[in-house]
Every structure is written in C-alpha cells, then in structure tokens.
C-alpha cells in the first residue's frame, strides 16, 4: 500500500496539471473569440470586393481569365489546413483521415500548419509547399498561400484547388470539410446572383478601366481568392481553439476527479494508520496491565 507521503505528492502533481489545463482552456477560449471576431471584421471587405467585381464583370461581358477557366480535372492540389500544436482532441486526426482519401498519384499537397506538414512528409505525399500561420492569420499570410495555389493553377500544373479545413459548426462540434477555391467560377453567375439579391441597385454602365479591364479584374480576382483562403483559415483557427477549449475542459475535469479519488485514498490510509497505532497502544497497555 502506498504511503501517505506518496499519495500527497501525487495529489500535488495532479493539482499542478489541473491548473495548467485550466489556464490553457481560458487562453483557447479568448483566442477562439479573437478568430471569430477577425472573420466578422473581414466581412465588409468581402462585400465591397464582391460588389466591385460584379460591377466590373457585368460591364466587361466578353471577359475570360485563367483563374476562372474550368478544365477537366486530371490533377488537383489540396491545401490541408491543420494546427501547429496538438492538445486539441481528435481535430487533426479527423482532418488527416480525410486527406488520406485523396489519390496520391493525382494530388499535390500544400500543407498549412505544422501538423499537416509532418503528416504529409511522414506518409511520403507529394508536398508542394508548406506554410505556417499565426493565431490570428493576417491577410498577407493568406495572400502567400493564395499566390502559391494560383501559380500552380495558372501554369496548368493542377486543374483544381481544394482546401481541406475544419469547419466550425459550434463550440462543441467541428467537422472536416472540403471547399473548392479554384477555378473561381463564372462571374456571370455571380452577376445574376447579385442582381437578384439587390434588384434596386442597377450597376452603372460603361466603366472606365484603368490600367485595363484585364489588369483590374486580375487584381480583384486575386483579392477574392486570398479572401476566401483567409476566411477558411479563420474558420480553421476558430475550430482549433474551440476543440482545444473542450479538450482542456475535459482534462481539468478528469484531474479534479482524480484529486477527489486520491484524497479519499489518502484519508483512508491516514485513518488506517491511526487505527493501527491506537490498536498498538491498547495492546501494549493490556500486556502491561
């Protein structure tokens, strides 16, 4: 049987663990809110950028751009958005299970986050590039990722670019999801959609484009692409932090349960030793008397 000192030592160490997990839970919950806020802050930009793109596309009817071109999909690129650190429950394993389903011969991988990079390197996938991103992803980081995807797509190396990320459903559940970012789709559809949503705002006609229609649309479409990537990263971050929050909450609860069990054990051992001592004293007295 363990001595009281051993048990006391274990209680102390479990208490330390509980404190750490509790702190991590709080940090994760504040970071989750930040990621959600960042996603919301980006909305006016998305709305305005879409509006300008739609206006421009509505005016330039005979317009085509490499980023919009839909081709037969022979080879595709998959951007895997994982976390940098563990301790977030089954988030990464669920995500990477989806990544495995892609045919290795016809897929090039782009890893975002350390866990994905490690996994793809270990399983010897065709890793084209590797990116890291911070807790609140900046637009520049997303632009770098988007540019890499764009280059692969425009050069004809791949015919489609998908993003595999963890969708944020609510604080308790996140699910791996796949979103196709390239090709961007026909702008004519978007024009029609926009016209339906805002029937009162007929766009002005005969825009002057400077430096040229192509140049302006190129930039607008690049923003659109970067922005889509950014939104997906924000969502993946929010999922990560909420998953971590839940995992840490469970860990704290487990630690507290363990402390309870150990305290009970400790008291039992303590009482047993007191009883034993009393018994010894009584026996000794009886022997003397």
């Amino acid at each position: 049987m363990a001595s009281t000192r051993d048990i006391r030592r274990r209680i102390k160490s479990v208490k330390g663990t509980a404190q750490i997990t509790k702190a991590m839970q709080m940090v994760a919950s504040s970071k989750m809110r930040k990621a959600q806020q960042a996603a919301i802050n980006g909305r006016p930009f998305a709305a305005l950028s879409r509006e300008i793109t739609v206006h421009a596309a509505a005016d330039a009817t005979d317009f085509s751009h490499p980023l919009l071109e839909e081709r037969e999909v022979r080879k595709r690129a998959l951007i895997v958005v994982s976390t940098d650190k563990g301790l977030c429950g089954a988030l990464n394993s669920n995500l990477l299970r989806e990544a495995v389903k892609y045919d290795t011969a016809h897929t090039r991988f782009i890893a975002v986050g350390k866990k994905a990079a490690q996994f793809l390197a270990r399983t010897r996938r065709d890793l084209a590039a590797e990116f890291t991103y911070r807790d609140t992803p900046t637009f520049s980081e997303c632009q770098a990722i988007a540019n890499c995807a764009k280059e692969m797509f425009v050069s004809g190396e791949v015919d489609q670019v998908d993003v595999l990320y963890t969708r944020f459903i609510n604080t308790l559940s996140q699910r791996p999801d796949i979103h196709t970012v390239l090709p961007l789709g026909d702008p004519a559809d978007k024009v029609a959609e926009h016209a339906k949503a805002h029937p009162e705002a007929a766009p002005a006609r005969d825009y002057i484009f400077e430096p040229s229609v192509g140049g302006v649309l190129e930039q607008l479409l690049t923003y659109e692409l970067s922005f889509q990537v950014a939104q997906l990263l924000f969502e993946a971050k929010a999922s990560e932090h909420s998953a971590r929050m839940v995992a840490m909450k469970n860990a704290t609860e487990n630690a507290q349960q363990l402390i309870k069990a150990l305290t009970l054990e400790y008291n039992k051992v303590r009482q047993a030793s007191i009883t034993k001592e009393l018994l010894e004293i009584a026996t000794a007295q009886m022997a003397l008397g």
Binding site: N41, F45, I52, S140, Y207, F209, Q219, F227
Partner: protein
C-alpha cells in the same frame, strides 16, 4: 457630395461624405469630384486625400482597387491607415520587422508581400516626419 468608403481585410477604416478625393492610381494620381464618370482602377501605394470643406483627411494606402461612381468612391485596400492614427514607433517597428524578414530566405511571393508591408511602414514614417 461624394461618399468615400475605405475598407481593409481587418475592417472599415474610413466612411465619410467628402467634397473631393485624390487617389494614388497605379497610372498616376487622380482627383475625383462628384459626378465623375464611372471608373474602376487599381491603386498603388500612397496617400488618399479627402477634402471636406476646409479640412483635409489623409489616409495612407498600399495596394488595392477603387470603384468610382457619380456619388460614391469605394476603395478596398490591403493596408490602410488613417494619418491621425499613425504611430511613429509602431511604424518604425514594422519597418524593422519587415527589413529583418527580407534578410531571411523567402520565396518570391513572400518577398513581394514583405516589400509591400515595408513600403507601407516607410510611407507612414515619411508622412509623420514631414508634418513636423
């Protein structure tokens, strides 16, 4: 009256009714007055000057697009900072960070991004010093 809106990925920077706007277009500066012909242009790096009566607001932008219609100027920009909100220390720090990043080995697209950040911080510092 022109409605001027400037939006970046981190939120809206400016929304006011103004009398005249000067934009740093990639093809050169352009002054926009109300009832301008519809125009869509890309923006380089520089200052947007918004005139309201006698006062002027200056907003620093780097990279973006602008849509001009008769009564509205809508600008999306990668970086934009209201001049009154420029903090020289912050800008100086951003400059140092960007310069340090440039020393590292970077892919071409990363270099371009860091360059843009560097230009933005340099412009901030320039404007701040000029004001003295």
């Amino acid at each position: 009256m022109l409605k001027l809106e400037i939006v970046t990925p981190t939120g809206q920077v400016y929304a006011q009714d103004v009398d005249m706007v000067t934009l740093p277009g990639t093809e050169g500066e352009m002054g926009i007055l109300p009832q301008h012909a519809p125009l869509i242009t890309t923006i380089g790096s520089g200052e947007i000057v918004a005139r309201r009566g006698l006062s002027e607001d200056r907003i620093l932008v780097t990279g973006g697009c602008a849509e001009v219609t008769a009564e509205r100027v809508a600008i999306i920009a990668v970086f934009a900072t209201d001049e009154s909100a420029i903090d020289e220390n912050n800008a100086e720090e951003a400059r140092k960070r960007a310069e340090a990043r440039l020393q590292e080995k970077l892919s071409p697209e990363e270099t371009a991004l860091v360059q843009a950040a560097l230009t933005h911080s340099l412009n901030q510092i320039k404007i701040k010093r000029r004001g003295r």
